[in-house]
């Protein structure tokens, strides 16, 4: 129990961010029209690709002979990049369709 409290104490700032972001996330998309549901989901999908930062750190910290970290890290960077690039490009293409043409 003490150790958990300790952990919370260490990560106080992060926990504040979590709570604020939960409210912000709900607030920010609160009035989305149903037309935008799919593009919004797709855009959000691209944004959670930030997980790639973790993958890069894993990869970059891995020692020369730490094959597990190297291999899994490499795979993670590839997958993360797929998520980011694919996510943004698909969203962009989707939104292309909303452009008003005259």
């Amino acid at each position: 129990m003490e150790s958990i409290l300790n952990w919370i104490d260490v990560h106080q700032q992060m926990i504040y961010i979590v709570i604020l972001m939960i409210f912000l996330g709900i607030e920010v998309i609160g009035h989305v029209p149903s037309v935008m549901h799919t593009p919004l989901m797709s855009g959000a999908n691209a944004i959670h690709g930030v997980v790639i930062i973790g993958a890069i750190i894993v990869m970059g910290k891995a020692g020369e002979h730490d094959y597990l970290s190297l291999i899994l890290g490499f795979l993670a960077v590839v997958l993360g990049t797929l998520n980011v690039v694919g996510g943004f490009v698909v969203t962009d293409r989707m939104l292309e369709m909303f452009k008003k043409k005259k």
Binding site: S3, I4, I22, L70
Partner: protein, 503 residues
């Protein structure tokens, strides 16, 4: 200096994510919003590569590998996203979401492995004799870290496995599958996952003392448990999505999307990284709300979707009703349908998934133009959940250059049906099913529908009399006002166009 620049880069990225999400919920600003978020992401990625320093203050290495991985991912991702057909976009989103989940799970696996090295480090210290004072300080954060690692692993794996199944279902490779007592089995699996995770966390404190006494590494036992946990989480992800009907996949994808967001946020805790934390939690929260909004658009509860009673009960009622009444439907030829439409004043087109499958949006637009030339007023009635994703029809019709102001949202369309002569239903089914209004036993009861019956004539284009994704019979097809026009949407539309041109 460098670390403050890195912090500022992360701050910029976080702001772009928030702005991007905000702008994405507004049709006019959405494209810009998406690009802003993308720029923020690029800033965050390159800042991490070049400016990140670990606890000892040294830069990252393995640049070659990082860049090779980045290039592979970019090429494959961009090509896949460019090439995918408009109709296949939902499944593509699901696939990319799964990649993010897998990425989070992999990070957790590596970090768990690092914990082991960390303990090895403690043992050495212990031998030196400065252990007792340091361990008390250290195990606290370690236990918290372990919780985060496990959370990232579980959520990431469920999201990965679930997304892959959702992807397979949407492109038709995987069929619905449910066995008796699956819900109970799933709940049991989930409790097992939680139990294992709690066991790992509570027992972790003991390891350090064991490590000190025992030269054989007790860590391997924990490692095995860890991988069992990983396997069960994957299994759970598969079984979680498998029984849910195809029509509900958008909701499921949206939910898994927010899962991946939370998994990414776990990474934020691991690396004390604010950009990952903001991005992840933002998506987690917004994604959850979006999931609920999508359910609301279909007038269903999330619980209802997840328990998957939709498909199960639907089959029973659908099968029963079909044979009870002597259901007779009227067929109409393309020639006749074309005639009726050309000589009417107002035609309302109701597009559905069938239109998307047949890639008939261009033919549809052509028909609309032709009829307009003949002096017929043509509009589209868009049900919020027509197709397989909310907004699917808008995207599809916009691709064919259908003007935005011809698309009527459900409420507006329902007001106009009474003054409409002909409604042409193109591959839509459940969204025009009157059972949603009249039959309380129907699984879609209560869902708002397009009230096409208010119009004078209804022409329904379908490939066959097979029920739609909800698996229920549609009484609309047997109404006296309704005529059935069988065939692939694209073929039928082309026939209609031919006839009208020759009139």
């Amino acid at each position: 200096m460098e670390s403050s620049i890195l912090a500022i880069c992360y701050l910029v990225a976080s702001v772009t994510f928030i702005l991007g999400l905000k702008m994405l919920s507004n049709p006019a600003a959405a494209k810009k919003g998406n690009r802003i978020a993308a720029v923020g992401m690029v800033v965050a990625i390159f800042a991490t590569i070049f400016l990140y320093r670990d606890e000892e203050g040294s830069h990252l290495h393995n640049y070659a590998f990082i860049f090779i991985a980045l290039i592979i991912g970019t090429l494959v991702g961009a090509i896949a996203a460019r090439k995918v057909k408009m109709t296949a976009m939902p499944e593509m989103v699901s696939l990319f979401n799964g990649m993010g989940g897998a990425c989070a799970a992999l990070i957790s696996i590596v970090e768990f492995h690092h914990l082991k090295n960390f303990f090895a480090g403690i043992t050495v210290k212990f031998e030196v004799g400065e252990f007792i004072s340091s361990t008390i300080k250290v195990t606290g954060p370690i236990r918290g870290t372990l919780i985060i690692i496990l959370a990232g692993l579980i959520i990431g794996s469920v999201s990965f496995a679930g997304s892959i199944i959702a992807w397979g279902k949407l492109n038709g490779k995987i069929k619905d599958y449910a066995f008796k007592g699956q819900h109970i089995f799933n709940i049991a699996l989930l409790s097992l996952i939680l139990g294992l995770a709690i066991y790992l966390v509570t027992r972790y404190g003991d390891i350090s003392s064991q490590l000190a006494n025992d030269s054989s590494n007790p860590f391997t036992f924990f490692q095995i448990l860890f991988f069992i946990l990983f396997a069960i989480a994957i299994l759970y992800g598969v079984l979680f999505v498998l029984p849910i009907g195809c029509a509900d996949m958008p909701v499921v994808i949206s939910l898994l999307n927010s899962f991946t967001g939370v998994a990414a946020a776990c990474g934020g805790f691991l690396y004390d990284n604010k950009a990952m934390l903001t991005g992840g939690i933002l998506v987690g929260a917004a994604g959850t709300l979006l999931t609920i909004l999508m359910c609301k658009a279909m007038n269903r509860s999330l619980k209802n979707v997840l328990i998957g009673s939709f498909g199960a009960t639907a089959k029973v009622t659908g099968g029963g009703d079909a044979h009870d009444e002597s259901n007779v439907y009227k067929e109409i030829s393309a020639g006749e349908a074309a005639m009726i439409m050309t000589y009417s004043n107002k035609v309302m087109i109701v597009p559905g998934y069938g239109l998307a499958v047949a890639q008939a949006q261009h033919a549809c637009h052509e028909l609309e133009k032709l009829l307009t030339e003949k002096g017929v007023e043509v509009k589209y009635a868009i049900h919020p959940v027509a197709g397989r994703m909310p907004g699917h029809m808008n995207v599809l019709l916009a691709e064919a250059d259908v003007s935005y102001d011809k698309l009527l949202e459900m409420e507006l369309a329902n007001e106009e049906f009474s003054t409409t002569d002909v409604v042409l239903v193109l591959g839509a089914n459940d969204v025009v099913n009157p059972a949603a209004k009249t039959d309380p036993s129907s699984p879609i009861y209560g869902m708002p529908i397009l009230e096409v019956e208010l119009a004078k004539t209804v022409i329904v284009n379908k490939r066959s009399m097979k029920p739609g994704y909800a698996g229920i019979e549609n009484q609309l097809f047997f109404r006296p006002k309704t005529s059935m026009l069988f065939g692939d949407s694209k073929d039928v539309l082309q026939q209609l166009i031919m006839v009208i041109k020759n009139l």
